[in-house]
Symmetry: C2
Subunit: 364 residues, 2 copies
DNA sequence: GGTTGACATGACACCGGTGACATGACACTG
DNA sequence: CAGTGTCATGTCACCGGTGTCATGTCAACC
């Protein structure tokens, strides 16, 4: 690979002059600039990032760790929206800033984190993004105070800057839409109770009911574990059974995520219920692979992963640019939109319910 | 950040001796080694990758470009298995080798590739992986002969080393399973005809039929475009309509991918067909988010993305380690397994078909 | 006891850039 | 015409490591 010395010799100038052409930080005569530019093209010269970074003491690198949380030895099956969307959002912003993102996936093995952190330190990363696979509390203390950190999709107890989804608000907005469609008996098949998102979304669900003066009925709420365990379908089946055999069964079901809604479609139909005519179903995540492909297409709340990644990267870059900047004193909550699709229809007393076909449209 | 000089001063030795302790490339007395180690710990010293790499002329970096292919201005909805699994497979292997993977996502914008390549050259990457989002021919000539390259999920006309899925073999094995379950009228809802995978899988499907001496019936094959276009469901509906109204309708349907199968489940049931009792359905990809969560769980062929990523990384590392190594003269095809789940059952003349419940089991 | 060699360590240059400073040419001012 | 300022360019040191070579110490051997 050509060096700045090769270019200098080729153009008949000093290396420093080539450097000046590269950085445009000092006046260079037009003739010289042209000669240098031609030499660079002829030799295919690209300046060495490594050489620049030792001199400038700035690596221009941002580290990102993902997939670290599952404590299981084996990588678990993806349960919700893949974190990759967070990574993509972050990368788009980092790239704009001229810095480069160094991404490491732990493959679900927490014990790999120290090694990755060492690699990041060797590369002198200027900041660190830590991305969890779903919204949770994090006990892992990331060492290294000299590096700015931002957590995404998780939070800790020591006030590290954090970007999380607005789970409460998302479920609230979604449930309001269900209520607005005339439903009063709205079941909720939640994710695992231990999850942070479950608690927050349940709050949103309850707040929406309260706003509409609908009494909260605990018999319409059932938790499901859905980490791809073998008994998962049975669990959902049982929960639906309890809902449907009540004397006042629900007319709509909220599901903890889109994946769960997909299973619910199948089980409901297997039991003779048509979707959405006899039962409206809504999900969470707006995992487009599922929500758009399901028949009928799924009404769901967007989990704004891409926006969260972008917001986190933006915050991190600000903290790096201004070392004296104040840390945000509370987690940054990013809101998603409600995506109205065909799986939610208006409840009518008549058998032939009118379909709200808002396919593709999105509320503002 | 502490430097090797700080450590040397702290330990009362020369920088070179610290270097020797670090690299264990020359004898150091036990006492000195201990003093140096203590100094490194006390100062939190980690050697600078940049400084090492300019001296050694080896960056220890591998570049990976992904998401580059869609020529649309906007990022398209994910159509099949996300390439991220390829990236993860590659990363696991690269990490083992002690090198670091530099990942860049183009966000679907081809015009970003030159910029990314320049960044990679600045970082002096030792090799390059180019990952496409689905199996296709690639016209993009990646410049830079000094860098070893391996293509994943795509191939070009100039003999660049390539790793692709064994689409023909995968569909063949899957179709054989369907035939083995007693089905004779097997419909095939393919992906877009322009896709490389469509052609190859159709070959596999036909070969399996031939082996079983079943006549290929073109009226049982229909292409579907499924890039999340609004009319997608209608397209599938129409195709199914044609299948089901034949005088000898199919008893099983192969779908171009799992996402398509998900839509087929809904439409079939909407038309009053139970799955799998009245119609077996199989997919392709083994996108576990879908295949395991669908009710009933989906029989499908694994698209071995993770293994492909690992294989490509392994090949690239070999090419880097041995510059004289011969390039493979043909694309490397990676095979996936058939995953038998509840959506495929044995066809019987009696109404009550016996369910092959091989949930979780996998053929060898 | 002088020579030899293994061992432990240090001095120094160099990798590819860039910051600080110096230098030479030239135009402008009084 | 000497003094001054601007522009274009070069010299040199330095960033943080490592390869090469030199040096000093001490035990082993003839």
């Amino acid at each position: 690979m050509a060096t700045i010395y090769d270019v200098a010799k080729h153009a008949g100038v000093s290396p420093k002059t080539v450097s000046r052409v590269l950085n445009a930080d000092a006046p260079v005569s037009e003739a010289t600039r042209e000669a240098v530019t031609r030499a660079m093209d002829a030799l295919g010269y690209v300046p060495s990032h490594a050489a620049r970074s030792i001199k400038s003491q700035k690596s221009g690198l941002i580290g990102l760790i993902t997939g670290a949380i599952s404590n299981a030895g084996e990588a678990a099956a993806p349960a919700g929206l893949p974190e990759i969307y967070i990574v993509q959002g972050a990368q788009a912003v980092v790239e704009t800033s001229g810095k480069t993102l160094l991404i490491s996936d732990t493959g679900g093995r927490l014990d790999r984190v120290p090694g990755l952190l060492r690699t990041f330190r060797e590369h002198r990363v200027e900041g660190l993004l830590y991305v969890a696979d779903f919204h949770k509390r994090l006990d892992l203390a990331l060492p290294g105070d000299e590096v700015r950190k931002v957590l995404v999709n998780c939070h800790d107890e020591i006030g590290t800057p954090t970007v999380i989804p607005d789970d409460e608000g998302g479920q609230y907005a979604l449930t309001r839409k269900v209520i607005a469609a005339g439903h009063r008996r709205i079941a909720y098949l939640t994710l695992a109770p231990a999850q942070e998102a479950t608690r927050l979304r349940l709050q949103g669900y309850r707040r929406a009911l309260e706003d509409a003066e609908i009494t909260y009925d605990p018999t319409l709420v059932a938790p499901t574990d859905l980490f791809g365990t073998p008994g998962e379908h049975q669990l959902i089946w049982d929960a639906l059974e309890r809902f449907l055999t009540q004397h006042a069964p629900p007319t709509a079901i909220c599901c903890g995520n889109d994946r769960l809604a997909m299973a619910v479609y199948g089980i409901l139909r297997d039991r003779g219920f048509s979707v959405p005519e006899q039962m409206s179903v809504v999900g969470y995540d707006d995992h487009r692979l599922i929500s758009e492909a399901l028949y009928p297409a799924l009404t769901t709340a967007e989990l704004p992963y891409s926006a969260m990644g972008a917001r986190a990267a933006q915050l991190l870059l600000e903290l790096i640019a201004d070392p004296d900047a104040a840390l945000p004193d509370a987690p940054i909550r990013v809101s998603g939109q409600v995506r109205l699709r065909s799986s939610l229809i208006e409840r009518r007393e008549t058998v032939q319910a009118k379909i709200i076909d808002l396919k593709g449209r999105t509320e503002t």
